[in-house]
């Protein structure tokens, strides 16, 4: 190519502060094949893009180098601009003189020289570019939603109401998630179950939602528009088609003393159970680790009692396949384990609070169950040790959050609000009781939120102490809570009947394994990564996979629901298209020179290369060869590096291009 245009951007001050853009533009104008070289303050702005379009037309450019920011930022922008001017978009290259030059250097002369070098490389790349066409792939117009909490429910209903089929996978026996177990919700104190259970029923009855409860995502194959999901339906030992949910089985089950997962061990359940009365589906499961029949072939009372003959002790895990076009991940959160035992070496727990040692030290989700009308105490607040009504309750916020020493530096965001709610609910239930709250800061940003906290303090008389609790001990059945009131500058000791710890939020168990299956990113704490914190908050870096709710970061219900609707609308955009386009920068194999060693087949991480044969038009065998499936190839380049006969190459990043770039530096 001999008519290349170079467009050097100032990025306001970002580049121009360190790099002499005028000088750069002048220097690169004399590179071989360069037709014109200009610079502008904001190349990505409308006038900047217009300049690119206009030069392509007026100078009849056949290649473009934009020297500005990272291609992650604006490659698409400039490719669109080129396309609008009639140039194949794959003849546009970015020279990154911001992140890789101006931002990391101070010396102006050296940075300017480096910018020239970077542009020289890109010019060589463009000179060896070939026009490419995007790959078009068909779309399976169905979505998978992983997780049936409030975020998953919202996303699934939005997508299904828009007319698309939804497959929902929930690993617990019922959908509903954490919200189903909450008592009342801030800042309006509306009953959590009252607002959630109708939505759960909608999911259960929706003609376009296929619900897999007590199931997990086993494997994910394919790519945007064409995912193949393998789902493991865990053995439930109950035929959900035959079962009527009458309840005879769990009433007759003699093993009733198993800690209930739904009540966070504040209540008990039988070995065959539904987690809570409003469960969707309202079908029980048998806990195989507890059932006497399954352990030692005893009992079997539920089977005898079941008129529907729905009990099947021979049930096994089943693997089923579903094809979907997009995925929404909404796997939610768990609470930081305050006791000593931790799942990560860098977490240390709070031994000084005696959680797990003192029965009356509980976490906030356990407290929710104790004040919930549907909870194990029917909404009467009784403390776990002896069932007495606690007259003094201490709430401690930021247990695990904002604490580098304990491993989690982030704010869990919702604890200030629910702790105020807890103090309020407690006062509404125990009128002569006193709530005490230890806090670091009160973070109550949100509509009606700060007013809510003030209400807890002013109307319901919660005593707030700004300071930490150093230690909890137990004496004569009382919990001695020792802390500091840093505003008054005095140590505080409270004899409490119950202590509630607002433990930090962490992503749900198994999130890292799931993220690896889906090939999406997660941070050091396991929270899933969005594609861009401001502009692409529900997208991941893998096309077609979206995130919603607390699997992304600590979030309250309104925010989770909003994000779920956002993810659902992104899904709808994708499913509304007849076909999707994919970037054409994928591997290609020269089938004439391929030696058919198939090293590439075994090394390809995406299973995108297959063995095939070349035959004449009449079907006579010529040779064997490897061939790339353009739908599956992700363009990683592994095959290029392993091919001994140099027959594999990456379009848009050919070996010729890479060598030309290296040589340009010599």
């Amino acid at each position: 190519m001999s008519r290349i245009g170079i467009f050097t951007c100032w990025c306001g001050e970002n580049i121009a502060r360190t790099v002499d853009v005028d000088d750069v533009a002048k220097q690169v104008s004399s590179l071989p094949g360069v037709r014109c070289s200009v610079n502008y303050k904001y190349m990505c702005s409308d006038p900047g893009q217009a300049m690119v379009r206009e030069k392509i037309a007026s100078e009849k450019l056949d290649g473009v180098v934009v020297a500005s920011c990272s291609p992650h930022m604006h490659l698409k922008t400039f490719r669109r601009a080129a396309q609008a001017a009639g140039l194949n978009p794959y003849l546009v290259e970015m020279a990154n003189i911001r992140e890789q030059c101006s931002w990391v250097h101070h010396d102006r002369a050296q940075a300017t020289a480096k910018a020239v070098d970077i542009i020289r490389l890109s010019v060589e790349k463009v000179r060896n570019d070939a026009a490419l066409d995007p790959i078009r792939v068909p779309v399976t117009r169905r979505a998978l939603v992983i997780g049936g909490g409030v975020a998953g429910i919202q996303a699934a209903l939005d997508i299904a109401d828009a007319g698309y089929e939804v497959v929902m996978v929930e690993r617990e026996p019922s959908i509903g998630g954490k919200m189903a177990g909450l008592s009342e919700t801030f800042p309006t104190l509306d009953c959590s179950q009252c607002i959630l259970t109708p939505r759960m029923v909608e999911v259960g009855q929706h003609p376009r939602i296929k619900l897999y409860s007590y199931s997990e995502v086993e494997a994910v194959e394919g790519f945007v528009g064409n995912f193949k999901i393998t789902i493991r339906q865990k053995a439930r030992y109950v035929d959900t088609a035959k079962c009527t949910g009458c309840g005879e089985c769990w009433n007759v089950c003699p093993l009733k003393k198993n800690p209930s997962e739904f009540d966070f061990a504040m209540g008990m359940r039988p070995a065959i159970y539904i987690p809570f009365p409003q469960a969707v589906p309202a079908r029980p499961v048998i806990d195989k680790k507890q059932c006497a029949k399954l352990i030692r072939n005893g009992c079997g009372l539920c089977e005898k009692k079941c008129k529907a003959e729905a009990i099947n002790f021979k049930d096994e895990d089943k693997l089923v396949e579903e094809k979907v076009g997009t995925v929404v991940v909404a796997t939610g959160y768990k609470l930081y384990n305050i006791a000593k035992e931790q799942d990560k070496a860098w977490l240390s727990g709070y031994g000084e609070y005696g959680y797990g040692k003192y029965k009356n030290v509980i976490d906030s989700l356990q407290f929710e169950r104790l004040v919930s009308a549907s909870g194990p105490t029917n909404g009467v607040l009784k403390r776990p040790s002896d069932g007495a009504i606690p007259k003094n309750v201490v709430f401690i916020s930021c247990v695990g959050s904002r604490d580098n020493a304990k491993g989690l530096p982030y704010c869990s965001k919702i604890c200030c609000m629910y702790t105020a709610k807890h103090a309020m609910l407690y006062k509404h239930k125990v009128h002569d009781g006193q709530a005490h709250v230890f806090y670091m800061d009160i973070r109550a940003g949100g509509k009606g939120y700060d007013e809510f906290v003030r209400r807890a303090i002013e109307q319901d008389g919660a005593r707030y102490y700004r300071g930490r609790v150093s230690k909890i001990t137990e004496e004569n059945g009382k919990l001695i809570v020792r802390g500091a009131d840093t505003l008054a500058g005095v140590p505080v000791t409270i004899e409490a009947d119950l202590v509630v710890l607002a433990a930090a939020m962490r992503p749900a168990d198994g999130i890292e394994e799931l993220a690896q299956k889906l090939n999406i990113g997660y941070d050091e704490f396991g929270f899933l990564l969005e594609s861009h914190p401001k502009l692409r908050p529900v997208e991941t870096n893998t096309a077609g996979i979206f995130i919603a709710g607390a699997c992304h970061a600590p979030k309250d219900i309104p925010e989770s629901v909003a994000q779920a609707s956002a993810a659902a609308s992104k899904v709808q955009v994708m499913l509304a298209a007849d076909e999707l386009t994919r970037e054409p920068e994928i591997a290609a194999i020269n089938e004439q020179t391929c030696a058919a060693c198939f090293t590439c087949v075994s090394t390809c991480p995406y299973h995108a290369i297959e063995r095939t044969e070349l035959r004449t038009g009449r079907g006579a065998f010529i040779k064997r060869t490897a061939r790339v499936n353009p739908g599956l190839c992700m363009g990683c380049g592994t095959c290029v590096s392993v091919c001994p006969s140099k027959s594999a190459d990456l379009l848009g990043f050919t070996e010729q291009q890479v060598y030309a770039e290296v040589e340009a530096l010599a």
Binding site: K340, Y350, G351, G354, K357, K471, T473, E474, E475, I480
Partner: protein, 279 residues
């Protein structure tokens, strides 16, 4: 077995009963304590209040002397002393302050030796071996194990046991046939050096510790720190007087109890020299 021994100021002064107990108890277990030649004060709580580098340099010199004497293991019976030695090892690890501290103490600090507290000495001997050596199981003892603040803290320096809910002392006493109680003040502060500056503070803290131990059914307290012993034993009469309460709680060094179980007499161990000698 020979083991390097850093007595620290207390064991040659106010707490020489602790040293007597250690010599008798560990001698009976065939452990010879080899005192580091020419050791100096570790700086205790005074040095770090004045100058951070001084607070490292003082124990660094002791560490250098121990290394010079070829001790692979150094036993410092006072938790503050052993913490100071560990603090130096941490400061020089990864070459952080190695060069500078080496220059100050005029020796090449290696920091590869093992610093032991009393419980760790017993762990090194092995609880099975200890148990086999028991002649008089401590049937009448129901002890509250009191670790104080420094035996387990700061956790990032000492890396010893669970720093809030430790269990290692209980394990030693269980091997001796003694009973122990779960109580609330295992790792609370006794007031330490405040005993000089603010006796009231110490009396209040000691009262809480002793009465909590008693309330949980203990008939004695086991300690592994000279300062804890001073505040709970020597000050006990003052606590009783101020709170008008009879406590009568014998405060044993851990080595006293192990020694008694090994068949040594109270006189050999120096238990008769304590202020509170019987309930």
């Amino acid at each position: 077995m020979n083991i390097g021994y850093y007595p620290g100021c207390a064991l040659h002064g106010s707490s020489n009963d602790y040293e007597q107990s250690l010599q008798a108890c560990l001698g009976a277990l065939d452990i010879q304590l080899q005192e580091i030649n020419d050791w100096i004060c570790c700086g205790a709580t005074a040095a770090h209040a004045l100058n951070h580098k001084l607070s490292l340099a003082l124990p660094a010199r002791n560490l250098a002397l121990a290394e010079r004497d070829g001790h692979k293991q150094v036993f410092a019976p006072c938790p503050l002393c052993s913490m100071q030695l560990l603090k130096v090892q941490k400061a020089i690890a990864g070459n952080g302050l190695r060069a500078e501290l080496s220059q100050i103490v005029e020796a090449d600090l290696r920091g590869d030796g093992q610093i032991l507290n009393l419980i760790q000495v017993f762990q090194t001997i092995g609880l099975d071996k200890l148990k086999a050596a028991v002649k008089e199981p401590l049937k009448s003892i129901t002890a509250a194990c009191y670790y104080g603040c420094l035996l387990t803290r700061p956790p990032e320096v000492v890396h010893f046991d669970d720093f809030e809910q430790p269990k290692s002392m209980e394990a030693v006493l269980a091997a001796m046939g003694a009973k122990t109680v779960e109580w609330s003040y295992k790792t609370e502060c006794c007031g330490a050096g405040m005993t000089m500056a603010s006796e009231d503070t110490v009396l209040e803290l000691a009262h809480k510790i002793l009465s909590n131990a008693a309330a949980h059914g203990a008939n004695c307290v086991a300690v592994a720190c000279p300062m804890c012993h001073v505040n709970l034993d020597m000050k006990q009469a003052a606590v009783e007087q101020r709170y008008n309460e009879k406590l009568g709680m014998v405060i044993y060094y851990l080595s006293d109890l192990v020694g008694l179980a090994l068949g040594l007499s109270a006189e050999q161990l120096g238990v008769n020299r304590h202020f509170v000698t019987k309930a």
